[in-house]
């Protein structure tokens, strides 16, 4: 390394990159994945979000993914400290984050290294690298920069050094503020995006601050654009057709929160936990404007109990959490099941077990969601597969909870929580709202738990209803809500509570197969893997393979018609982001292999030999990976 410093290639930095001699015609692309990364606080996230919004306005399909360091303030220039955004831009509709990155803008070489080591960059990918480190006062930094730079060049990456800091310094005193807009300007040039839309983004973001901030950001934006036009020898265009309908661009957590707004619920009780918190942050900002409130309880048990109290009193309530908090809520969830109190519980899954990987995606909580809480505690479990479904699933969840007096668990994950994908702007419908609290007198002789023998359903009495007085209890109870000491009653009521799931199941429609209804291989998925699975299926179908996929939104109960679908394929496998034993591990065989959650559920319910592939890397499974796995499965 010392040797390398002695070579003093620092001179190179002083050379201006060659001006592009002629204006190159943009290369047309079908899609591209670009990421912008920096130390946290340098604004790469904002830059990426703006880029995504601009591309969406141009009519491009986009999928943005936040790159979040595990620590709040990782040390500057650290390998694990990359903060930023990854944007997949396409001509058509984009359903997931895609495979490896095609181009990256890095504010220092260390955060870049982190991405290289995580194998997130495509071999030979273009790297636009801030070059200020080459002439840094600290020789160690200079050495590290040069070493990394040279290694990347050697490894075949197309590294272009950019004097972002130097250029910005000619215009502003502190380039740490605003360099991201310079980068945005460059990217607008590279992707042939209208600069005016970027100006709009700046006005939207800083409009409330003083005009000088807006002006200086626009100046940097334009300078970045100009520099790129003068110095880069490539640019792209990703043709797009502007949508004729208004599109909403939000991440999964905001979508959930908007769903809460639209559902008519009045209270959200929560305790902060990554990656669920941003949903509550957003709700805290806006909920009161429509007559709601967010209660930050002293812990998740209290949050769940508070929600149950409010629901019991007639206002179906939501509690939002992630894995560890979800575990804490279990006893209270059982109480809601036993008392037949409607309740919506959102679990934005993260890596587990224990504290696990707070900022990373995983689908590890399906079994806990279905079987959690001791005894037989039947509850509804739903999993939105897209950002759009995050919105509508909350409205549906509230409805089911109140119709069936059940707990409805909505499982999303860190990937959905932090990704953005445009979807048609929802049109508010009054029927989404909760009905007013029933305060009418209870008919004489009516009982608080008058279970219907076929459906298990009973009308609920809400405090305030004259004549409905009874004590709800988590103890086994009879139709009068009297504590039941009789084992017979206990068994009957277990039956009624279970029947409600069947009653709901009868109202569900069979899910639609993606691809042909018959073929060689069917992949079953749930939750955030939807887009990647369908993309892999599409690729293989284009190659003539007889493959399809099935994505389940209702995990408990499962919709009718699934068995018939599974039977239409020679092979069936699930693709999930939760642990399954690797069949090629030495001591793993059919007698001890632990399958992925959905695979276990399907195998036990349908008695079909269903395989699984799982990856638990804290990142969404890539379509390319799924494609490879499917090809292997087809060959086996």
């Amino acid at each position: 390394m010392n040797q390398m410093t002695k070579q003093k290639p620092a001179k190179k930095a002083v050379q201006k990159p060659k001006a592009a001699t002629s204006v190159k015609a943009p290369v047309r692309l079908k899609e591209h994945i670009v990421e912008i990364i920096s130390d946290s606080g340098e604004g790469a996230q904002k830059c990426g979000q703006s880029l995504g919004a601009i591309a969406a306005q141009m009519g491009n399909g986009i999928w943005t993914t936040e790159i979040i360091p595990a620590e709040i303030r990782p040390p500057a220039r650290s390998v694990a400290g990359a903060s930023g955004n990854r944007i997949r831009i396409g001509s058509g509709y984009i359903t997931n984050g895609g495979d490896e990155t095609d181009m990256v803008v890095a504010f220092n070489e260390q955060v870049l290294l982190g991405r290289v080591r995580a194998k997130e960059l495509k071999p030979g990918c273009t790297i636009l690298l801030e070059d200020m480190w080459r002439t840094h006062a600290d020789p160690k930094i200079v050495a590290s920069y040069i070493e990394t730079h040279d290694a990347l060049v050697k490894a075949g990456y197309k590294v272009i050094e950019i004097p972002m800091e130097r250029e910005c310094r000619t215009m502003v005193a502190d380039p740490r503020r605003g360099k991201n807009m310079y980068a945005l300007g460059m990217l607008c040039y590279i992707y042939s995006l209208e600069l005016k839309l970027a100006v709009d983004q700046i006005v939207l973001a800083f409009g409330k601050k003083d005009q000088s901030v807006v002006d200086s950001n626009i100046m940097l934006l334009e300078a970045g654009h100009k520099w790129a036009a003068a110095n880069l020898d490539f640019c792209y265009s990703i043709p797009a057709v502007r949508s004729t309908e208004p599109q909403l661009v939000v991440n999964g957590n905001t979508s959930l929160a908007l769903g809460v707004l639209a559902s008519g619920m009045e209270i959200c009780a929560m305790y902060p936990i990554t990656p669920a918190t941003s949903a509550s942050h957003y709700l805290s900002e806006v909920f009161e404007k429509v007559g709601g409130m967010v209660h930050q309880a002293e812990d998740e048990i209290a949050a769940c109990a508070f929600a149950i109290g409010a629901s019991y009193a007639g206002k179906c309530t939501v509690t939002i959490t992630s894995g560890p908090g979800y575990s804490l809520k279990q006893e209270a969830i059982g109480l809601a099941v036993m008392g037949e109190i409607p309740l919506v519980v959102v679990n934005v899954q993260r890596g587990g077990p224990s504290t696990g990987q707070p900022t990373k995606m995983e689908q590890g909580d399906l079994m806990t969601a279905i079987f959690g809480s001791h005894g037989d505690a039947p509850k509804v479990v739903m999993a939105p597969g897209t950002i759009e479904e995050c919105f509508y699933s909350i409205i549906t969840a509230r409805k089911i909870a109140e119709t069936f007096n059940m707990v409805v668990v909505v499982l999303t994950d860190a990937a959905l929580a932090t990704s953005q994908q445009p979807f048609p702007r929802p049109q508010f419908n009054e029927s989404w709202m909760a009905p007013p609290v029933d305060q009418s007198p209870v008919p004489a002789g009516a009982k608080p738990y008058d279970w219907d023998d076929t459906t298990g359903l009973a009308r609920r009495f809400i405090p305030g209803q004259p004549g409905g007085m009874h004590t709800l209890t988590g103890l086994a109870h009879d139709r009068d809500s009297h504590v039941a000491y009789d084992a017979e009653i206990n068994e009957q009521t277990l039956r009624f509570r279970s029947l409600k799931l069947a009653a709901l199941q009868k109202t569900l429609k069979a899910p639609k197969v993606f691809g042909d209804p018959k073929g060689d291989l069917l992949v079953v998925g749930w939750g955030s893997t939807k887009g990647a699975i369908e993309e892999a299926v599409e690729m293989l179908r284009a190659e003539g393979k007889k493959v399809s996929s099935l994505h389940l939104q209702f995990l408990q109960p499962m919709a009718p018609g699934i068995k018939e679908i599974l039977q239409g394929f020679k092979k069936v496998m699930t693709v999930e982001s939760n642990w399954s034993d690797r069949p090629d591990d030495k001591i793993i065989d059919e007698s001890n292999r632990r399958y992925s959650s959905m695979a276990i559920l399907l195998r036990s319910r349908f008695l079909i030999d269903i395989d699984c592939f799982s990856e638990v890397k804290g990142q969404p499974i890539k379509p390319g990976t799924i494609r490879r796995v499917m090809l292997e499965k087809l060959k086996k």
């Binding site: 919004a53 969406a56 502007r242 949508s243 004729t244 309908e245 208004p246 909403l248 661009v249 939000v250 905001t254 908007l258 707004l261 008519g264 009045e266 209270i267 009780a269 806006v286 009161e288 404007k289 429509v290 007559g291 409130m293 209660h295 309880a297 002293e298 812990d299 048990i301 209290a302 949050a303 109990a305 508070f306 149950i308 109290g309 409010a310 629901s311 019991y312 009193a313 206002k315 309530t317 209270a332 059982g334 445009p422 702007r425 929802p426 508010f428 709202m433 609290v437 405090p463 305030g464 004259p466 004549g467 409905g468 007085m469 004590t471 709800l472 209890t473 988590g474 103890l475 504590v483």
Partner: protein, 332 residues
């Protein structure tokens, strides 16, 4: 009284409100299954009397409890009741009150329920200061699970988990409660002095905010002699009097001569009195009606109507909408 027969129209309802009378039976439900001599019976009697005297509408009244002998309380009230899970009565009651401030909400919790498994909720409930009336049935033992030491068991208490006597000094629920920010009402009663018990229950009900009433409760089943020293020697009971608190009646004063004047607004003095474990102070230790209630601070002043929701939702959607070219007008 028969609530159902004349409840058929809203007018009947309104008329009724002006002139309502209830009998004790209107609040009584089932036969309590507590042991004979259990202090919970006295608490039940006092509370039923309160409901009758205050003509609390049974359908607008909710008793929330946790788990324990004492948490069976709601089953014996002919109101709405919520017999939940161990330790979580307070957060459930908070949720009820936040959703429905129109309901009168009481909480019954045992010493294990409140000061052990539910201790975190207890501290925070005091701080939220919602308008709840909380009765801590403190028998200084786990009754339902058959005699284990509780945090409030006096040091040396022999129990099934401490057969050679409990090891730790008892936790003092009064000093703990009086130490929490936003505390607004703390009182102590003893089940064997029904007159004061009733007066305290009544004062607690009338306090707006969280009223915390520790009731020293006998458990003849597991600790039959534990409270004898205080029951047999009235001088070991200290009655707290004040013009802004309770005033001992002449009859009571004949038996309980150990009395002091105590201003319920004086929190320092309240903490001193509460720290005395030799005598049992009975009365209102602290009462400050000026502490704001969480539900008042947090209740939205807007009604969650469809129109408001549509407007609010659309305003939010506007922030994140990408409009088709030339159509940047708002949708309805």
């Amino acid at each position: 009284m028969n609530m159902m027969s004349d409840m058929n129209s809203a007018t009947a309802c309104l008329l009724q409100m002006t002139d309502e009378h209830f009998q004790l039976e209107d609040y009584q439900s089932g036969v309590p299954r507590w042991c004979t001599g259990c202090g919970d019976n006295a608490i039940l009697a006092a509370v039923q009397r309160l409901c009758r005297d205050e003509a609390l509408r049974p359908e607008k009244t909710v008793f929330v409890s946790g788990i324990g002998c004492s948490s069976r309380f709601p089953h014996y009230m002919k109101t709405y009741g919520f017999h939940g899970i161990h330790g979580r009565a307070l957060p459930v009651a908070e949720g009820v009150k936040m959703a429905r401030p129109d309901l009168t909400v009481f909480v019954n919790t045992g010493d294990g329920d409140c000061t052990s498994i539910g201790a975190a909720h207890w501290i925070h409930a005091i701080r939220y200061n919602m308008n709840l009336t909380v009765f801590l049935h403190d028998n200084q033992i786990y009754g339902l699970t058959k005699k284990q030491a509780s945090p409030t068991s006096p040091i040396g208490t022999k129990s099934n988990t401490t057969p050679r006597g409990s090891y730790l000094e008892a936790l003092n629920p009064l000093t703990v409660t009086l130490g929490v920010q936003n505390v607004s009402f703390v009182a102590q009663a003893a089940d064997w002095i029904p007159e004061v018990l009733f007066d305290i229950v009544k004062a607690a009900y009338h306090h707006r905010g969280l009223s915390f009433v520790r009731i020293i409760q006998r458990c003849p089943e597991w600790l039959p002699k534990a409270l004898d020293p205080w029951m047999h020697d009235p001088n070991k009971v200290l009655l707290l009097n004040h013009a802004n608190g309770l005033q001992a009646s002449a009859g009571l004063s004949r038996v309980y001569k150990n009395q002091i004047e105590h201003d319920p607004l004086n929190i320092d003095r309240a903490r001193e009195i509460a720290s005395d474990t030799e005598t049992i102070p009975v009365g209102i230790l602290y009462n400050n009606p000026a502490v704001p209630c969480y539900e008042d601070l947090r209740q939205s002043d807007k009604l969650r109507t469809a129109d408001l929701t549509r407007a609010g939702l659309n305003a939010e959607l506007d922030k994140y909408t990408v409009w088709p070219q030339g159509a940047e007008q708002k949708v309805a």
